[in-house]
């Protein structure tokens, strides 16, 4: 079978899944389902990126959005116990504004796509395709931008220290476990054998 045909089949397959899951994100009744459909949308989106040979973006999308952001979302959604009924009220009231925004977005996309989008041919981008883009990024990140990269690491360290300083409360008088003491405990600390005289039954 033709190679291009296979790629096209894969592309349309993933695109269908992407569009359907994106629709389910906004129509699902259960917020947890919405979040999970968003995860599915991210996965299919990253698959399409891999088809476009943008593997770094694909990996970053899965690691950052699926791995971190969406897990956080799920935690928040599950913890907050949102009552969804008020969220759906006023659908008709906000419909005109929504339609207006949608029309503007579609119009903008049409303008961009019809004017000049086709001008970017593969020849211009081919210079980037010589090597994998992860390698291309890595080769400048650890050489040309080594200094900046290290400073970015310092900023992360600083953020950790600052966040801990500003949020960690050492409360006294709370009951908490001390794993060190739990491990060191001996049987004789737990059970105390007391010798007692047998009581006489009168």
């Amino acid at each position: 079978m033709d190679k291009n045909l296979i790629i096209q089949i894969i592309f349309y397959g993933f695109s269908t899944v992407l569009i359907l899951s994106a629709l389910k994100v906004i129509t699902a009744r259960n917020t947890v389902y919405s979040a999970l459909f968003l995860v599915l949308a991210f996965f299919t989106c990253s698959a399409i990126w891999i088809l476009l040979r943008a593997e770094f973006l694909a990996i970053a999308l899965i690691l950052v959005y699926v791995g971190a952001v969406m897990v956080l979302f799920l935690f928040v959604v599950m913890m907050l116990n949102i009552n969804e009924q008020p969220l759906r009220e006023g659908f008709i009231k906000y419909l005109p504004v929504g339609i207006l925004v949608a029309v503007v977005v579609v119009a903008e996309m049409i303008i961009v796509i019809t004017n000049g989008f086709g001008a970017i041919t593969e020849a211009k981008a081919s210079g980037l395709m010589v090597t994998s883009n992860t390698k291309a990024l890595g080769s400048v990140l650890y050489t040309d931008y080594l200094y900046q990269f290290e400073i970015a690491a310092v900023i992360l360290l600083l953020a950790i220290i600052a966040a801990i300083v500003l949020t960690l409360h050492h409360q006294t008088g709370t009951k908490h476990q001390d794993p060190g003491k739990q491990v060191q405990v001996k049987a004789k600390d737990r059970v105390r054998l007391v010798k007692m005289d047998t009581e006489k039954v009168e």
Binding site: I155, L157, L158, I161, A162, V165
Partner: protein, 493 residues
């Protein structure tokens, strides 16, 4: 075959950066990590270990930099994003030195307020690291990253006293306005990058020199100057300064009000002189507006303040105006005068805030003007030190503040800004009023209530602040070594 091999190796060999140029930065980062780890094993009683390590780091850096300073030529490395030159070395030494003073003065204040924690020292040191990065940055990217390192540590330090609502409010104001400032600066940088396609200052310089200005470049320049104005606290971007100075713990205000000004001076020099010198006609006009407004608003509003920290905040704004007068001449003489002014200002401001810390004690902040009433009766020696500090801030001879103002005015007159020099002198005279008012309160007013403040700080703090005050006076008699250093930074000798 051989040529193929050579080609294969040439693609993987990378020119190694000149790591030895960045030894101070690397040493600082290593020491921060070491102090962070050691502090975990230190109890509140033995916290002096953290303190001593912090001071030892700064002393070590001073010794290292001074020993390697002779005959420094401008060298860049890390793909042109790091520069080492005489100006950078001198500014860094002054940052380390004033950093030492800050930690000495803060120690007893922090202990009395239950803020004497290891993280305070780590965060302060990271801030100093950010300033070092800013001082020796040679591309917009590393400059911005250094600025963020400094700003983030400052936000955390301002909010360090979590129990105080005032601190939290100040921190949020500072954070929001700091973020806006960063946004402005980045937007300007993106414009410059869009036109020149370069981030390194020397390449931007070459491009601008070859092509001349353009509308987009000027547009980007305006946003960069606005960003700098926010960070410096120049009028009309000064709104955060009094609130943050007043709300932050006084030891943090001392930090915030002194050494970041040196780093900000370096930032202006790197961007406007190293990068955009050919466009000086454009940024000169912007700085003239900032300078006049800063001197006017700073000096006039300071008169109305009853809180000393707020008063010093407006005084900072006025001094920033003076620094800008030196820079806007766009000539090496003006730059060196502004550099001297910045260093002298930081050295005097640290003593002024240090005096508030010395007179404060647990449960009492000597931050109102009334707290200085009759200081001469209670403690003549410290009253004398405050007198020197206030005279130096006002620019009264024979203190070093006089020479700082003189050099800036001299440069302004020399490069045809005589009218600006007259304006500067006019506002400086207005400014003398509120500095002298403190002297009057100390010497001619009597204390009404008998809360006769006993001074609780340790002997080392008393000794260091006395030396600091006397140095301000002594440098007034013999400022020439430092003036020569500042001139040599711009190859004027």
């Amino acid at each position: 075959m051989l040529s193929l091999l050579a080609q294969a190796t040439s693609t993987v060999t990378i020119p190694s950066p000149l790591y030895h140029l960045a030894i101070p930065e690397m040493a600082m980062l290593s020491m921060i990590c070491i102090i962070l780890l050691i502090d975990l094993f230190v109890s509140d009683r033995t916290r002096f270990i953290t303190y001593l390590l912090t001071q030892a780091t700064l002393v070590g850096l001073i010794i290292f930099t001074v020993m390697n300073m002779a005959g420094v030529e401008k060298v860049t490395t890390f793909n042109n994003s790091f520069v080492r030159d005489a100006m950078g070395d001198i500014l860094k030494i002054s940052i380390y030195f004033i950093g030492i003073l800050i930690f000495v003065y803060s120690k007893d204040y922090l202990k009395a307020r239950n803020l004497y924690k290891g993280e305070y020292f780590t965060l302060s040191l990271i801030g100093i690291l950010g300033m070092m990065i800013m001082v020796s940055s040679y591309s917009f990217l590393s400059l911005y990253l250094g600025l963020e390192v400094l700003a983030l540590s400052m936000y955390a330090l301002v909010a360090f006293n979590r129990e105080s609502a005032k601190c939290t409010e100040a921190a949020i104001k500072y954070f929001v306005l700091g973020a806006i400032a960063s946004g402005m600066l980045l937007y300007g940088i993106s414009m410059i990058f869009g036109v020149t396609g370069e981030l390194e200052f020397n390449k931007v310089f070459t491009y601008v020199q070859a092509s001349g200005g353009s509308l987009t470049l000027s547009f980007g320049l305006v946003f960069i100057v606005i960003g700098i104005g926010f960070k410096l606290g120049a009028v009309p971007f000064h709104m955060w300064v009094p609130d943050v100075y007043e709300g932050a713990p006084t030891s943090v205000t001392m930090y915030l009000g002194s050494i970041p000004k040196i780093a900000a001076f370096a930032m202006i020099m790197r961007i406007l002189s190293d990068g955009m010198q050919p466009l000086f006609a454009n940024w000169q006009e912007l700085l003239i507006i900032l300078a006049i407004l800063s001197m006017a608003i700073g000096n006039i509003f300071a008169i109305a303040q009853t809180n000393l920290k707020r008063m010093l905040a407006y005084s900072t704004i006025a001094h920033v105006g003076f620094i800008l007068v030196g820079i806007l001449t766009a000539q090496p003489q003006g730059y060196s005068a502004a550099m001297f002014y910045t260093m002298v200002y930081a050295f005097t401001a640290v003593a002024a805030f240090g005096m508030i810390l010395v007179l404060s004690r647990s449960g009492f902040e000597a931050e109102n003007l009334e707290d200085f009433k009759g200081l001469n009766e209670r403690n003549p020696w410290f009253a004398f030190i405050v007198l020197i500090i206030m005279f130096s801030l006002a620019g009264v001879p024979p203190t070093v503040g006089f020479f700082a103002k003189l050099l800036v005015l001299q440069a302004a007159v020399e490069f045809h800004f005589t009218w600006l020099a007259i304006v500067a002198v006019f506002f400086a005279i207005i400014g003398v009023f509120y500095y002298i008012r403190i002297v009057k309160l100390m010497y001619f007013d009597r204390v009404e209530d008998d809360k006769a403040a006993k001074i609780e700080v340790g002997g080392d703090t008393k000794l260091v602040i006395s030396l600091n005050g006397l140095a301000i006076l002594a440098l007034g008699f013999y400022p020439f070594v430092i003036i020569e250093l500042c001139r040599s930074a711009f190859k004027l000798t």
